[in-house]
């Protein structure tokens, strides 16, 4: 028997936290053109109000639209608008599917297994993601809740093992960095905080309130980001600037008993996070594009999206080193600006205008 999926606020919080933490855990200068510095951990501590501000347009829209997704609301305003919004957000979720997968593939093919083809890991990740989409939203969120606990505990374990290697002389004051460094760090963190995308699509499906979950995420996630940046700097110091994947390198020097390093744990956390993110993004992408797909073609939508995402992720991972525009900060800030701020506010304004028109137009008496 089918029913509207119900996700707990706790599950949503766990997913948002996992999504954001994994992105920072897998920080690379290749992706961000920025080496980790003292302003990064300070920016992480200052992040909460900015995360809350980032979600304001989404909550303004929700107040106007009620517990429906952004695409459903756009359709309720007008069909052409609904189609345009669905297409835009579908493309946005497609980007969110390709982004973590291609980064992971780049990591593995450049660091761990250079002999593997760039197609291999996108395939390895997106096939299970397609299966996860078939299983549905609830299953993905339930699994994400478990994965988030596992990943965050692993992260804390790595940090705990690295504590003896913390060198206080590696921690420099962030207040003497060049002017604008703190602002740049904040912008970088914000450009990677794309969790509001999920919030826009799930308002009606969360039992216990989206606001509570997002508030929890906005307060707790920055603490983990701080922990990651601080650990990298404290352990590696200036060596982090030479490393493509600093946290992975730091985990590589964590020795526990006979285990020579915990880099496998860091890589495992990465792939689990990517799996959870790509599954949900693919599901939401499909959800956005489903109304635009002819009925006969709907059974093929998921395989088509999966295949397209695999191809794009493989291409992106193979060209990541050369392609400077690849998910750079200006591009991601643009995405944030359009999808998370401009579009929700525009829809809210259009909704208000429609409401006002209904109020002004006198009711025509029935004959």
């Amino acid at each position: 028997m089918s029913r509207r999926p119900v996700i707990g606020a706790g599950q949503l919080f766990c997913y948002l936290l996992l999504s954001r933490v994994v992105l920072t855990l897998t920080y690379s200068i290749n992706f961000n053109a920025h080496t980790i510095g003292p302003t990064d951990w300070l920016a992480a501590l200052l992040l909460p109000p900015f995360l809350l501000a980032l979600a304001l347009p989404a909550f303004v829209l929700r107040r106007r639209s009620g517990p429906v997704s952004v695409c459903e609301y756009a359709f309720s305003l007008s069909k052409p608008l609904g189609r345009a919004v669905s297409l835009l957000y579908g493309a946005g979720f497609f980007l969110l599917t390709v982004l973590p997968v291609s980064r992971f593939s780049f990591f593995v093919t450049s660091t761990l297994q250079p002999e593997k083809s760039p197609l291999f890991f996108p395939l390895l990740l997106l096939l299970p993601a397609c299966y996860a989409v078939c299983r549905g939203l609830e299953a993905i969120f339930r699994l994400s809740a478990l994965l988030s606990v596992v990943c965050l505990l692993s992260l804390l374990a790595i940090v705990a093992v690295l504590l003896p290697r913390f060198d206080s002389l590696n921690i420099l004051s962030p207040f003497y960095e060049p002017r604008g460094a703190l602002g740049l760090s904040l912008l970088l963190l914000l450009s990677n905080s794309l969790e509001v995308f999920v919030v826009l699509m799930l308002p009606g499906a969360v039992r216990g309130g989206v606001k509570k979950a997002y508030l929890g995420y906005a307060l707790v996630a920055p603490l983990f980001l701080f922990l990651i940046f601080y650990t990298v700097l404290a352990v590696l110091g200036p060596y982090s600037a030479l490393q493509m994947f600093p946290f992975y390198t730091a985990a590589g020097v964590a020795k526990v008993g006979e285990l020579r390093n915990l880099s496998a744990v860091a890589a495992a956390v990465w792939i689990l996070g990517v799996f959870a993110k790509s599954s949900l993004s693919l599901l939401l992408c499909r959800r956005c594009l489903l109304p635009l797909t002819p009925k006969a073609a709907r059974p093929f939508l998921l395989p088509a999206l999966g295949a397209a995402a695999t191809a794009c992720a493989a291409w992106n991972s193979a060209t990541m080193a050369e392609n400077k525009l690849n998910f750079s900060m200006p591009l991601m800030l643009g995405v944030v600006g359009v999808y998370l701020i401009a579009l929700p506010l525009l829809l809210a304004a259009l909704g208000k205008r429609k409401e006002n028109r209904h109020r002004e137009t006198p009711a025509v008496p029935a004959r």
């Binding site: 028997m1 707990g8 549905g136 478990l146």
Partner: protein
């Protein structure tokens, strides 16, 4: 409620399945005795085990039909035939005579009327004796069952240290009695039904009124009523029809041969399905965490019970993941091993001609063949299997350099781990092979992803909107007191556990 009404409800077969053309109306009995006898004989194709005893008492013709070895002849004699032949005066009217015999003469504790020809074979096969009366279009079925059946013995598959040593048997009525003996509350409901178009197997849905969710009971009832199958010879035949996803590796409907376990599950709001002819009772729904619970857990000290459960979870993880992990790390990420282990691994594998993945697949296949052979072989020959296994596979394969010694250890640990949770043996066995394949091809990442998929699959399973992975996912703090840890009885007794009240089940407000 008096005894007669109770017995009537107990044997009421109002929900009989009609396997024959449902459009064909049931054929009523004739008033002619000979015609009725002929019809029954024709239905049985003149089978030799159908006994027909015709007798004439006070100028009225009677016929007593029964299947050989299905009835107690002594009881039939004492409760009916002797009384019939010694009856002082029988009413002359056939209908009145029938009523007189039914109400005053027969002393059988169970009896019922049958008015159609189609009911007769079912009653005969259920061990009833039929009394037909010339001039009356009704048959009297007397419950004088006495067919060969196994007595109540100790469970063979679910042995416990301290819990009761009683298991279900093949006789449905006895199994119901075993439940009644433990659950003396009248809230225990038993609904009889017939499944199997040809076998007309008796089944019973049991639940506790007030504990079980009406939605779940109704779901089970409807699913069973809709089954179209020739013969139901074991409860396992019905299991896929109750499953929400029959093709999933992990079951949502479990089975138990222990009456005490069945009663415990009934108290938690589950529904039990007993099937005649099989000692295994189906329990719906069965949560994933129940595979790691046993009756002994509730008799042992909580600390030890918790330790045993943790061991089971660890064993489950090892049974699925260990071989795949070994192959993945050995082939793709050997730097994870400490140096000493690393060199031992290299030394062991240097002489073997196969890669770790093929070694693992071969040795596990051989192990499964041995296990299956051990199950099917007669006991006297069973020792040969262990000798072949130990010497040939364990010793010779390693000496010949076909398999590395570490791989044998991996197989041994995996095999032992998989037997800790016997109810999950088959899914674990299949997943183990999948893990080995994935570990060999995709390495550590493949193993991690496949394990995540396994968890996803379990997390997505539901039975009547009850999540099977509860109380882990969705997390239910209260219910966790009996999932991984086993809280003390004072704590367990404080809250009544109901499976439909778990988080995510949709009925948690009840």
């Amino acid at each position: 409620m008096n005894a007669v009404t109770f017995l009537r409800q107990f044997f009421h077969t109002a929900r009989q399945q009609q396997y024959a053309d449902p459009q064909k109306p049931p054929e009523p009995l004739s008033k002619n005795l000979q015609e009725n006898i002929t019809r029954v004989k024709e239905a049985y194709g003149n089978s030799d085990d159908l006994t027909v005893r015709e007798l004439t008492v006070q100028n009225r013709r009677f016929a007593c039909l029964a299947l050989d070895n299905m009835v107690s002849k002594d009881d039939l004699n004492k409760m009916l035939l002797e009384k019939l032949t010694a009856a002082p005066r029988l009413p002359t009217d056939a209908e009145e005579c029938f009523s007189f015999i039914e109400r005053s003469l027969s002393t059988a504790p169970e009896q019922q009327r049958a008015e159609t020809v189609d009911e007769l074979p079912t009653l005969l096969a259920s061990g009833f004796a039929l009394l037909l009366l010339d001039g009356c279009a009704v048959a009297l079925a007397l419950g004088v069952q006495h067919f060969p059946a196994r007595g109540v013995e100790a469970p063979r598959n679910e042995e416990m240290e301290r819990a009761a040593h009683e298991a279900f048997v093949e006789v449905l009525r006895l199994n119901v009695a075993l439940l009644r003996r433990r659950m003396k509350t009248p809230a225990l409901r038993v609904e009889n039904l017939t499944v199997g178009g040809r076998s007309k197997t008796a089944a019973a849905i049991c639940y506790l009124q007030g504990s079980a969710s009406p939605k779940v009971v109704d779901f089970v009832r409807r699913r069973l009523q809709r089954i179209e199958i020739d013969a139901v010879l074991e409860s396992g035949y019905l299991q896929p029809f109750l499953e929400s996803r029959p093709l999933s590796l992990f079951p949502t409907v479990g089975a138990t041969e222990r009456p005490d376990a069945a009663c415990a599950k009934l108290c938690e709001g589950r529904v039990a399905v007993l099937v005649d002819g099989t000692p295994f009772c189906l329990i719906a729904p069965t949560l994933f965490c129940e595979h790691f619970q046993s009756m002994d857990d509730y008799t042992l000290h909580p600390a030890f019970a918790t330790f045993v459960r943790l061991l089971k979870y660890f064993s489950f993880f090892m049974a699925i993941v260990f071989p795949g992990l070994y192959v993945a790390i050995g082939e793709n990420n050997p730097e994870i091993f400490p140096t000493a282990v690393f060199f031992k691994l290299v030394d062991a594998e240097v002489t073997t001609p196969f890669s770790l993945m093929w070694e693992a697949l071969m040795i596990h296949t051989i192990y499964e063949i041995m296990r299956e052979a051990g199950l099917r072989l007669p006991q006297s020959v069973g020792h040969a299997v262990s000798i072949v296994g130990a010497l040939v596979i364990g010793e010779s394969a390693v000496s010949a350099g076909l398999i590395g010694a570490p791989m044998i250890i991996v197989v041994a640990v995996t095999a032992l781990s998989s037997y800790v949770i016997p109810t999950l043996y088959y899914p674990v066995a299949i997943l183990r092979f999948a893990m080995i394949l994935v570990g060999g091809i995709a390495g550590l990442f493949g193993v991690i992803l496949l394990f995540s998929l396994v968890l996803l699959e379990i997390a997505s399973l539901e039975f009547c909107s009850i999540p099977i992975f509860a109380p882990f996912l969705p997390f239910d703090r209260t219910a966790m007191r009996d999932a991984v840890v086993r809280a003390g009885w004072p704590t367990l007794a404080r809250h009544t556990a109901r499976v439909q009240a778990l988080h995510g089940a949709g009925e948690e407000d009840r």
